[in-house]
């Protein structure tokens, strides 16, 4: 399955090791796979694979310097995916607030089904 955009971002972020790698990349100004492999408790091959996933999702950007690629973080896709999650979280907040209002208003009417005006 190919992933792009927000889906790729969220999927890339759904793995704790990739989040750790992302943290490391964002902590160092520019970092190489070798430097990452030294601090993350997985093999260099595994680091390479995760870095590729992060790069495909656009969360990190690589640039070739001599023999090695150096990576840095791009926050834009994370901001966009965050906005989407926030919008969805907000709609749940609204639903829960309506639930609270419903429970308060229906306090004398446990059946809750006789109020002609829906609580929205």
């Amino acid at each position: 399955m190919t992933r792009s955009g927000a889906q790729a971002t969220l999927w890339a972020l759904s793995d704790p090791l990739r989040i750790e790698i992302l943290d490391r990349v964002s902590a160092g100004s520019e970092i190489t796979v070798s430097q990452l492999a030294a601090v993350v408790p997985i093999t260099r091959q595994a680091v390479t694979r995760h870095v590729k996933t992060l790069e495909d999702a656009g969360l990190i950007l690589g640039s070739r310097q001599g023999r090695e690629h150096r990576y840095r973080v791009d926050l834009k896709p994370i901001d966009e995916a965050g906005q989407w999650l926030n919008a969805r979280a907000k709609s749940w907040d609204q639903a829960l607030n309506r639930l609270a209002r419903y429970l308060e208003n229906a306090v004398d009417d446990p059946s809750g089904g006789h109020d002609p005006s829906p609580v929205r």
Binding site: R3, S4, G5, A6, Q7, L10, W11, L13, S14, P16, I19, Q83, W84, L85, A87, R88, A89, K90, S91, W92, D93, Q94, A95, L96, N97, R98, L99, A100, R101, Y102, L103, E104, A106, V107, P110, S111, G112, G113, D115, P118, V119, R120
Partner: protein, 147 residues
């Protein structure tokens, strides 16, 4: 840390856990706050449907877990893509009572599996939905002020 493909929200209400459980699982009550129509066959594998007449839309799902009075979960439609595939997310309500107050925690998971087409669409729907909700809230507050 919660996985990034989940949304976790919670609210604490001053109602006993039984009442909150009913508000979540009895169709007539669900229709009072969630949508404006609801059908639930309250057993694992049972069907669930919530409708919003205002938006002329409804969402269908399948009940997964029913553990009175603490856990209720279902998997419901997040939308379909052009190839006809229906995508779903899982929604879990967890209830906990303490000193007459009940905390309702909602976890929606599976969001990282949704294709992009749906992100864009829900983003648009949510932003217009948010404006409509603000208008609702405003008239609600104005109505209360006039009393």
């Amino acid at each position: 840390m919660e996985k990034v493909d989940t949304i976790v929200r919670e609210i604490t209400v001053s109602s006993p856990i039984d009442r909150v459980w009913s508000a979540l699982t009895v169709a007539d009550q669900l229709a009072q706050w969630f949508g404006d129509s609801a059908e639930i066959d309250l057993r694992p594998g049972g069907s669930l449907k919530v409708g919003w007449s205002e938006y002329d839309s409804s969402t269908e799902g399948v009940v997964e877990l029913v553990e009175y009075p603490t856990t209720f979960s279902y998997r419901w439609e997040a939308g379909s893509t052009e190839d006809g595939t229906m995508w779903t997310t899982k929604v879990t309500f967890t209830l906990e009572e303490a000193e007459g107050m009940t905390t309702v925690k909602i976890v929606e998971s599976g969001l990282s599996e949704l294709p992009d087409e749906l992100y864009t669409r829900t983003m648009e729907e949510n932003s217009s939905g948010w404006v409509a909700e603000m208008a609702d809230l405003q008239s609600h507050l104005e109505g209360a002020g006039a009393l």
